[in-house]
Chain length 350, copies 2
DNA sequence: GTGAAAGCGCTAACAC
DNA sequence: GTGTTAGCGCTTTCAC
């Protein structure tokens, strides 16, 4: 039997201390502090005053155990140190903190697992109320399990019927960037893609690169131009990948006069490759990216702007509503985008 | 009395289910699964097999409540979306995940509070076993409270006696960068600092800018050169701040021929300002940063390299040791640094 | 509107 | 080496 001498000074303030000091039962304290009904206003005020004097806050573990809710959510990202993911996370964290939720991070890529082997991580097991997947998708099996454990899911980037998805209209992104280049007079436009096999390996829908490419194709169709698949190279959404991709494009027998990079970071790498090869941008080659990364204006990169922090914030708000039982739109919500014309695009040299 | 009909199928697997299936008591299951001694090997194997078949994992809330340990730690950062912080976080998260710890993030800046009003956040209250402060310090009062609640603290960047601190030798950073410029022949070297009031507002020791500046001064002293305080301007560790700072330096009656920026991101802003003003780098002005940011090689920026991911990883390992009761070095641990000479530094135009 | 008491699912004495 | 059992600090019926 563990010692529990009642004379011993408690190390931490418990709900019982508050109840004792307020001359009420623990049940009333619990109700009062959580803003539940059925507490007389004077009683509530007294309890709140005492609780704050005693610097009391409910033990989250005890509360989770009794109530089954943890007031914390997990945000899963493929890479933690990518610009995009850091910003989504920052946006989400700010909203969650404000609402009193803890944000726990799960970096899927870092654990060396496949891209959507998420559950294997396991830290979210009974530890969080919900999960935000950033450019990551769950298998049907995983989704079923989440549902059975009463955890909510919100997607950022990817699409999935029945769960709330936030992002941008990636088809429009592709169309906007491509149309800009076509309007300038370009006819051979390269693409720096994500993964070469995005379409095949991912039934659940990594739509981002796919849709941007679709926008590219639609822009070409609308302009009556042919699409040359040889101009599509993978850049893996990294600076290095963008560098490699640009090298490949420049080594083509008939290189493009303009390149549409699916992210600014890949565009940075592309810019680097161009400089190394002595290619003048935009004189010899135009380049447009996506994101409007912090350093893009520095590099004077033409790009499609999106408000990434806001994606995270909206995802967090959606999650909070979901958890509160508020009815929310189940279809995809897109944030506005706009083309920012800077110095890396110009008409082709004739 | 809550209904608890024993015939009703349980929604989740509990330790009791495992105990029943294995024909042992819950205590044995608990011991076996946590690798505690005093469990016969065959028994342990049987239990482990059954647990995995039943896909059982201990409920963290129950476990935390009973044991008083949550197997989760908080990482507090001033800004979540800064390159440095994202990388420290990434490094730490990877190690924690590997060790089975959850990482919860606390963005102090985002909550609009002062820089070291950390406890006000409160999500760490009884929720985590430890706290990693990245370029953030706790007041003595906060530290006392952390200790009384048996939470461990590790610092990254800042210094504090009695708690483990990880970082780099910032005096050496300052000396390295400055000596490089002096060796090239520069005699008027500007500094893009952090906050103008770092020294005053922070008794607990925001040593980073202070020490880099000290290194700068030591390098000058060693070279027998005077130090001109007019050349010190704040850049607030942001791209925009670096831009403003460079403008101020260029507007000086007697502008510097070289600038030492305390971070690469501020150097990016400085580069931008220089370009806007038509200043040739490194022809008219040399520039050296600190960090070796992902895009620094792209901008061909001379900088002092540090392995930021590794800082986070080491902090995490230190925390895990601390939590495990392993004796660890209490004094500051510095990671190696090195100067990377690239294209933004050259001898001054005579 | 308030109180009593039964758990939530574990861990840690202690007994055997 | 294993079982028994008393909590951990809350929330939530249900009774009053």
């Amino acid at each position: 039997m563990p010692p529990n001498a009642s004379l011993q000074r408690r190390e931490r303030t418990t709900i019982e201390d508050v109840a004792f000091a307020a001359g009420v039962s623990v049940a009333t304290v619990s109700r009062a502090l959580r803003g539940l009904p059925n507490v007389a206003e004077p009683t509530r005020e007294r309890i709140e005053k005492i609780a704050s004097e005693l610097d009391y806050r409910a033990d989250p573990a005890a509360s989770r155990l009794a109530a089954g809710r943890s007031r914390s959510v997990a945000v899963a990202v493929p890479l933690l140190d990518g610009w995009y993911f850091a910003h989504v996370l920052a946006g989400a964290e700010a909203v969650f903190a404000e609402a009193g939720y803890d944000t726990i991070i799960v970096s899927v890529g870092a654990q060396g697992q496949g891209r959507h082997v998420l559950e294997a991580a396991g830290p979210i097991h009974r530890r969080v109320d919900g999960l935000i997947c950033v450019d990551l998708s769950l298998t049907d099996e995983e989704l079923r399990r989440m549902r059975s454990e009463r955890m909510e899911v919100v997607y950022v980037g990817r699409d999935n019927a029945n769960i709330p998805c936030l992002g941008i209209d990636d088809v429009e992104v592709g169309r906007l960037a491509t149309t800009h280049l076509i309007d300038l007079g370009h006819r051979r436009i390269g693409i720096i893609n994500g993964d070469a096999h995005d379409h095949e390996d991912d039934v659940v829908g990594f739509v981002v690169p796919h849709n941007r490419q679709m926008g590219y194709e639609l822009a070409h169709r609308d302009a009556g131009l042919p699409v040359d698949l040889a101009l599509f190279v993978p850049g893996y959404f990294t600076i290095e990948g963008g560098y490699e991709a640009m090298i490949r494009l420049l080594d083509l027998p008939e290189p493009p006069t303009a390149v549409f990079s699916f992210s600014d970071e890949m565009a940075f790498g592309a810019l680097w490759a161009a400089r190394e090869r002595g290619i003048d941008v935009p004189g010899d080659l135009s380049l447009v990216g996506v994101d409007d990364h912090d350093v893009s204006k520095l590099l004077d990169l033409t790009t499609v702007h999106q408000d990434v922090d806001e994606h995270g914030a909206r995802a967090a708000r959606t999650m909070i509503d979901l958890l509160a039982g508020v009815e929310i739109a189940r279809e995809r919500q897109n944030s506005p985008i706009r083309l920012i014309e800077r110095g890396t695009t110009s008409p082709p040299r004739t």
